[in-house]
């Protein structure tokens, strides 16, 4: 007797797992930015470029997941 049948690609689950880390990372970056701006509002313009750079670097991991998901989609 089959209890459950799974069909389709596991890649979606893999990508979901892969997105946890960058999700936490991006959250931390913006949390720190909001905190630092709340403590010292005049520093907001100074730190903003670093926020975007940090955001882009962390987010790259999630995007690599998207790209490689397609790159390796055909190979089993």
């Amino acid at each position: 007797m089959e209890l459950a049948e799974v069909s389709g690609s596991l890649a979606a689950i893999g990508y979901g797992l892969a997105a946890i880390g960058p999700g936490i990372g991006v959250g931390l970056i913006f949390a720190s930015y909001i905190q630092s701006t709340a403590r010292q509002p005049e520093s907001s313009r100074m730190t903003l470029p670093y926020v975007w750079v940090g955001f882009a670097v962390v987010e790259a991991l999630a995007l690599l997941g998207v790209a490689f998901g397609f790159v390796w989609a055909g190979k089993v």
Binding site: P49, W52, V53, F55, A56, V57, E59, A60, L63, L64, V66, A67, F70, A73
Partner: protein, 260 residues
């Protein structure tokens, strides 16, 4: 109208894949002229015409177009080049401004109706842009410090016993991972954005065509999501253009900085 779109949608390939990015050549004899080639030419032409027209007849009190061109250049000069690289970074402002404008226009092609795809969703275009930035920052470092540049970059002030670990890490992060992530970040953002829009737009047609009656109204939700995500894509397009320029200038700053 609706009937024809459904008939068209019936043979749309539903789960969108990599094949959707390989567009056929527009002219039979020249297979290399695809939509992407034309879009890159259009982007270059648009930027050229815009800046030439804006600065053809400069006024002391700027007109609207001149004001727009001046604020774009002023933003890259003051907020990116001067703030991130330092006073000496102003000489890179023309390159950074050109890069920002080119990326902005090509990225925004991804959401312009009837164009709907960005040339940057093909890895070839981001790779060339990343290679230009890579060569530029290494060249600047070498020109200022000579071979000492490599010692500045690779050897950080740390106890000698961590250096065997630190030097390979620094080498990989500066000379291997930087150009790779610079290219892949832009590519993956544009690629993923296009796939997401395809999923929701084509998914709407698939739901509308489905046999189950209760699934048909959900297609409206799918299209609403497609519209909402188009706005998100606009944000991503602008953000990625900005991030590419900011990272290029921060690499330049690292290459030109004094020794640690």
């Amino acid at each position: 109208m609706i009937g024809s779109t459904i008939g068209l949608a019936a043979d749309l390939p539903f789960p969108p894949g990599v094949e959707d990015f390989y567009l056929p050549g527009l002219f039979g004899a020249y297979p290399w002229i695809t939509k992407f080639t034309i879009l890159v030419w259009v982007a270059v032409a648009l930027i050229l015409i815009f800046f030439l027209a804006a600065y053809r007849n400069p006024k002391l009190v700027p007109t609207k177009v001149q004001w727009m061109a001046e604020s774009i250049y002023g933003f890259t000069r003051n907020n990116v080049a001067a703030d991130l690289i330092g006073p000496e970074g102003i000489r890179f402002a023309p390159y950074l401004c050109t890069l920002l404008c080119f990326l902005l226009v090509t990225n925004l092609f991804g959401i312009v109706p009837f164009i709907q795809i960005s040339p940057n969703s093909h890895i070839a275009f981001p790779v060339i842009l990343a290679v230009i930035s890579y060569v530029l920052f290494i060249y600047q470092g070498l020109r200022r410090f000579g071979l000492r540049y490599f010692r500045n970059t690779l050897i950080l002030p740390a106890p000698w016993y961590v250096q065997p670990i630190l030097i390979p890490i620094e080498f990989a992060s500066t000379f291997l991972i930087r150009p790779f992530t610079l290219a892949v970040r832009l590519f993956a953002n544009m690629f993923a954005g296009h796939v997401i829009l395809l999923v929701f737009t084509l998914g709407g047609f698939v739901l509308l065509n489905s046999d189950a009656l209760f699934l048909k109204p959900i297609s409206l939700l799918s299209w609403a999501m497609a519209i909402a995500l188009t706005f998100l894509e606009a944000l991503v397009a602008i953000l990625q253009a900005y991030v590419f320029v900011v990272l290029t200038s921060s690499y330049l700053q690292g290459a030109l900085a004094e020794e640690h």
